[in-house]
Amino acid sequence: MSDASADLTEIDRIIDGHRTLEGPMLPILHAIQHAFGHIPEAAIARIAHALNLGRAEVHGVVSFYHDFRETPAGTHTLRICRAEACQAQGGAALEAAAQRRLATGWHGTGTCGVTLEPVYCLGLCACGPAVELDGQLHGRVDADRLETLLKEAGA
């Protein structure tokens, strides 16, 4: 079986597994993104077909939400909180340091395949600046601590 048809089988399996839910769209999209790291173009048509919607409609949903990616991210994903409580604790300096270190702006993939994404609050507002690196949360992060975390992650 080719990669593409294996992907389609997996997509259909995911869709089938969520079909009976009330409002299955977001659970399906999360599961697909979890499996593939993004929402592959091919998934849009399958979801549209399964849920009896137009492709444009499904695409409209995918593009509305910040979480859903239409292209894969890098090897690592660093999300830095840009919201007020982190800014009050030196967040802007951390953002600048990260952009220099990774040589990329927001939404870009920079040095060592690290994708840099903004996030607006991680619920760590009493121990900011806060970041999430490859799914792990970290509080009170300054430029030095970020460097350590990136090194530990092999980036």
């Binding site: 409002g23 949903v61 007020e84 009050a88 609050c121 507002c125």
Partner: protein, 509 residues
């Protein structure tokens, strides 16, 4: 020996997992039998990871503990260590609180239903099972509980509308989107006492005739998603959820649904669209969600804290709860003290404390030790308050009277190095990024707002009236509070720190 190390996301972000591992390893090396409990947090975030040890005299605390401190703690037999804080509940920050909604958070093992019941859990639901729908709703109305998600709408009135609506199905939707910067009470509750939310939702179901609930939980909270999912599973297996709630013959079940990173999906109608699988655009009201909500059915949409406060109201009685508070703000409020502050964390107390007491006394002033310049209250749509407004008592009407809002009760403290011009710009930028796109004053206005603030900060003082006009247009012409309230932080920043809107600021930096 019984040792507690929080598994709360903030504690983990500060190294709690490494501390827990070190404790297990050290106990093994010393041949000691240790039971390690991963509790929720007590909310004293500046002391996290906060380790507690059970002794004859109660639980004593140590913090903030690093993994490298663990051998020393064992060596002193958890005695007179430099990190010792004494009995945890005697720590002044904790002792001063009135913990009703958060009574169990940090105390119990979050996923132990037995522990939950041993500390008052399910007493409220058992009482509600003996009441009629009308009696249940009346109890909530009489407690004076108002929505903790921001708008402050009386919870009992909302429930009554749903109760009286005729429909084949009704829903309880818990708003766990908690997008406001400076807030983490929902997260803390869901991670530290998940059954409390489940119990509150079950009571809401009994009172309104809804048999199905959803928790719409933001994706930025992976720990809360994990704990809530596990708790729902345990509750179902224990017969607390399902077709026969606690053997009563009444049905209530629920699902956890994960958001997808859109701030506006915290707005209740946007949330419902998202739950249904659509773009999270805001719906015009009417129809009210209480009459036509999720999947077109009558729906209660309530914040996590609103719902999680219901069990204690039923356990202790509406009057008990209503006797706390100030004016029309009844009961307690979990303040979330965040930003540049020494004692950041959650502090549950009766409504009515003056803002200054919260910031200076309880929060201990700024972490940097510099003077407080401003406090943003109520999230990204809340106003900046200056020290000259520190006598404002914490209550819905009191903050409204000062041109602000309490929102979800988050307070973000800034010291005198903060650039409020940059914060005003950020407020507009955030609105532009998160706008659902439905109305022009919000979608386009926020982009213009960023440009106008840039012009002002480059020295074009004539653009100040333009900014003020733009804010008026956004206030009057926006369908929801994202566009409608973004002017609050912007105009309050301008009023509080006009010097931050001049080019001189850059020269000074």
């Amino acid at each position: 020996m019984r040792i507690y190390v929080p598994a709360d996301a903030a504690a983990r972000a500060l190294g709690a997992d490494a501390v827990a591992d070190a404790i297990t390893a050290e106990a093994e090396a010393r041949g000691l039998e240790v039971t390690l409990v991963r509790n929720g947090t007590r909310g004293m975030i500046w002391l996290e990871p906060l380790v507690e040890v059970e002794t004859d005299a109660g639980r004593t605390a140590f913090g903030p503990v690093a993994a490298s401190d663990v051998p020393g703690l064992f060596a002193s037999n958890f005695g007179d260590d430099a990190l010792a804080l004494g009995p945890v509940e005697a720590i002044p920050y904790f002792a001063r609180q009135t913990r009703l909604t958060f009574a169990r958070c940090g105390l119990t093992d979050p996923l132990s239903l037995a522990d939950y019941e041993a500390h008052g859990g399910l007493a409220g639901l058992r009482r509600a099972l003996g009441m009629s729908q009308a009696e249940i709703v009346t109890e909530v109305t009489q407690s004076g509980l108002r929505g903790r998600g921001g708008a402050g709408f009386p919870t009992g009135i909302k429930w009554d509308t749903v109760r009286k609506a005729e429909a084949d199905r009704k829903y309880i939707v818990c708003n766990a989107d908690e997008g406001d910067s400076g807030t983490f009470a929902d997260r803390m509750l869901m991670e530290g006492d998940p059954f409390c939310l489940i119990e509150g939702m079950a009571i809401a179901g009994l009172g309104t005739g809804a048999e199905k609930g959803f928790v719409y939980l933001r994706s930025e909270y992976p720990d809360a998603i994990r704990v809530m999912t596990a708790a729902v599973d345990i509750a179902r297996r224990a017969g607390l959820l399902g077709t026969d709630v606690l053997g009563s013959g009444r049905a209530f079940d629920m699902e956890i649904r994960v958001g997808a990173g859109a701030y506006v999906c915290g707005e209740e109608t946007s949330l419902l669209n998202s739950l249904e699988g659509k773009r999270g655009t805001v719906r015009a009201k009417p129809p009210l969600p209480a009459l036509e909500g999720a999947f077109g059915r009558p729906t209660v949409v309530n914040n996590v804290i609103s719902l999680a406060t219901v069990p204690v109201i039923f356990e202790k009685g509406a009057d008990y709860y209503r006797d706390f508070g100030l004016g029309r703000s009844r009961g307690t409020i979990p303040l979330q003290i965040a930003g540049n502050v020494r004692h950041g964390g959650l502090f549950e107390t009766a409504f009515g404390l003056p803002l200054g007491e919260i910031v200076d006394d309880i929060g201990g002033g700024t972490r940097s030790g510099r003077p407080v310049k401003a406090v943003q209250v109520g999230g990204p749509l809340g106003a900046y308050f200056g020290p000259n407004q520190f006598d404002t008592p914490f209550g819905y009407e009191e903050f409204d009277g000062q041109g602000g809002l309490i929102g979800h009760a988050g307070l973000v403290v800034f010291d005198d190095t903060a650039d409020l011009g940059a914060m005003a710009r950020f407020a507009m930028e955030f609105c532009a990024v998160e706008s659902c796109g439905k109305c022009t004053p919000c979608r386009i206005g926020a982009v213009r707002g960023v440009e106008t603030i840039d012009r002002i900060r480059q020295g074009d003082a004539a653009a100040i009236p333009l900014l003020e006009d733009l804010c008026e247009t956004m206030k009057d012409g926006s369908l929801c509070a994202l566009g409608g309230f973004t002017p609050y932080p912007v105009l309050s920043a301008l009023r509080l720190a006009p010097q931050d809107f001049t080019p001189a600021r850059e020269a000074a930096e």
